[in-house]
Amino acid sequence: MIRFEKVSVTYDGAARPSVRDVDFEVPEGELALLVGPSGVGKSTVLGAVSGLVPHFTGGTLGGRVTVAGRDTRTHKPRELADVVGTVGQDPLAHFVTDTVEDELAYGMESLGLAPDVMRRRVEETLDLLGLAGLRDRPIATLSGGQRQRVAIGSVLTPHPRVLVLDEPTSALDPAAAEEVLAVLQRLVHDLGTTVLMAEHRLERVIQYADRVVLLPAPGAPPVMGTPTEVMAVSPVYPPVVALGRLAEWSPLPLTVRDARRKAAPLRDRLADAPARPEPGAGVPGEDRRATPPAAGRGSGRLFRRRPAPGPRQPHPADAHALTVRRDRVTALHRVNLTVAPGETIALMGRNGAGKSTLLSTLVGLLEPTTGTVTVGGATPHRTPPRELIRHVGLVPQEPGDLLYADTVATECAAADQDADAPPGTCRALLSRLLPGIADDTHPRDLSEGQCLALALAVVLTARPPLLLLDEPTRGLDYAAKARLVTALRGLAAEGHAIVLATHDVELAAEIAHRVVLLAEGEVIADGPTAEIVVSSPSFAPQVTKILAPQRWLTVAEVQEALG
């Protein structure tokens, strides 16, 4: 259905091709997963299927791409619109009309389908995607998961034979992601749609894939095979595969279910292993951690905090009965939260549960409606910005929002000036977080991981005792994520308190001492990571699910225990 023949793409002005010798075929009715580290050209390959590369983006396409027998060299994207449906990374950029129902009909109107056919297909698609209750809703009022489903629905109504998706679940909470994937699987099974999708969060999608196309490195030819074959050699892999490789299971399990069947011997070995360390253990400066090692384990119900040394200092953050109302919606309701120095807290919960609102309130972007909030003793929304950055720093969901300058060097210099830090502070921080970013790069040309590192360095220049991160792993590959984990652990060990809002359960399991679950603006659970995530089916990391009832969170812990 999709056939790449010796395809290479060179963008205008680029020295070397973005992808080279891409040669694969996806048969009809299969779900193919495109994987690889950041920057290997996954989006380019996806764009080539819909014809946007090269017709829209410019550049030179070598070789041949055919979709349902049509050559993309001779067919423009609009002439492929009836066979290929494309959903990009940001569903909001995809919508042309205002309401759900009109959006579903838009593509069909362009193709000129008969009114009665359009009507029937809109109703079918509303049912298929569970959108019937939202049909009249303005798109601007939908949640992230709902938007993603509307975006998929809007390309589905013309009945394309091929569906191309770029990171369909990366912005979604675990439950919403499963919802979207269930829909995709149903399309493949019931309608025979061919799906090609790129996704960084392999733990979510790998079990649905019929085949995997791996782009191992920039410019390297792709590796094609069944998920099991490819995962054995892939540089990117989910925790279940990491555990499988560690335990030398063969064939490699891809699902929690398969892994559990093989895990009995491993569980026995681990039962005899020495006591399981706490997350964050093994980090330099462990003795300064806020968590006494025994607190989170076994009997430890409450997260005990070590008394602050010397004269009692105010907590890095303290919220009491915090209520925030925005546009007549109660975003937060009577939230209590205390953050101790050196502590890492993961804020989790559905899209729209109030995580970002809580972070915004902590940095004074929003004013509490009732209740109090203090950071390091200061009231955030009444403190002048210059003073506030010494108490708290936030890396927003789009780290690029923090960057204004033309080059990395001027950005760093500006950050030093903003924070009254000695010149070179920010640059030194950046080099420590992620070496190898050239001074004269434009911030917009940085990869997602580099951009995050720069924003983090800018925020850390003022040495805030409290660091907030909003969805830091969105769009990061496993390598970038691992670097982030190392950096954050180091910061926590230095005594920074860290609060991160995330959907990434694996990240929370890796670094958080404590997890706070939010639902509809209220705190519904607050406790040590191990206790909270183990008891929740949607927030438990894969390793926990595989090794339950034993309480293991990450592959690294298992590895350490095995010695």
């Binding site: 609009r78 298929l128 939202l134 013309p158």
Partner: protein
Amino acid sequence: MTSSDGPSVAARAVPRAPGEPRSTAPAGEGVPTRRRATVHPGAWWLWAISLGTAATRTTNPLLLALLVAASAYVVATHRSAAPWARSYTAFARLALAVLLVRLVFATVLGSPIPGTHTLLTLPEIPLPHWAQGIRLGGEVTAEALVFAAYDGLKLATLLICVGAANALASPSRLLKSLPGALYETGVAVVVALTFAPHLIADVQRLRAARRLRGRPDRGIRGLLQVGLPVLEGALERSVALAAAMESRGYGRTAEVPARVRRTTAALTLGGLLGICAGTYGLLTAEGGGYGAPLLLAGTAAALAGLRLGGRRSLRTRYRPDPWDTRAWLVTGSGVAVAALLTLASARAPEALHPGVVPLTAPTLPLWPAASVLLALLPALVVPRERS
């Protein structure tokens, strides 16, 4: 048809299991518009524009206030919960600003209205002789202020009527009724219109981000510094939207024989020329003879060109809004108000334009006031939208 479900269905409905019975959707033909108990957007716009026209016929503040109240009542009962419906508040604020600006100008710059009731005397700034006719400061009379207030109120009412149209029917819904040949241009215009709200949202986000850098988030310098990133972001979004539209078949055209294409071009161009020449003829004194026929012929040719041009477009319409009895009633009520007030202003100009010199209290003329109340008809005949 599952129309009765409404938004009460859990916001995050789970996809149905394959075995679950699925509601069968009726085919398109002859489906009653039970769900969309809405009126054709064109009807709302005609109604609102008619009210605006009526507002230009009078300066009586009581009548104007009645007009505003009538339109506001209809908006309050019939606007949807959609974001664009909130634009009514923005228009109301704008109207208030217009009124205030008009008053400030009358105070500072003086007014040609001769008045005797001096309220206060501002220090007058002498201007050089070439600025004759302009006055800064000086006497402020009650007559001048009242005149300015009447005039400003007229403009404000006009703006509020446009706001009502925006709140009751979003301009993009109006777009669906455009002829096929113009549709693509229309989409481009609407997409361009949404550019501004996105830009404002971006500016707000980036100014908030400035605070995170420890810089003040207010002031003109803050605005200037975020300018470039905001434009870059807006440009990127536009390109992304263009890519999405392209891959969804925007701009697909049918093959049309060259002969038809040439005829279309000739008809459209000829028609437009005819319209121009005809209008000129009508407006000049000596062209009375050929003006009207030329205008009619030009209009006919241009319409034929548009219709023929529609052949190039493959587009079909999904559930077009029908022009039904309700639409006639809504339009009719607006047009009636405009017509009756025009008639009243011709018959009884003194009631619709209360005197300023000498100052008299405006009275509410009975028949024009009663006719303004006709504008409330839509509130009765159009069922409310579900909120």
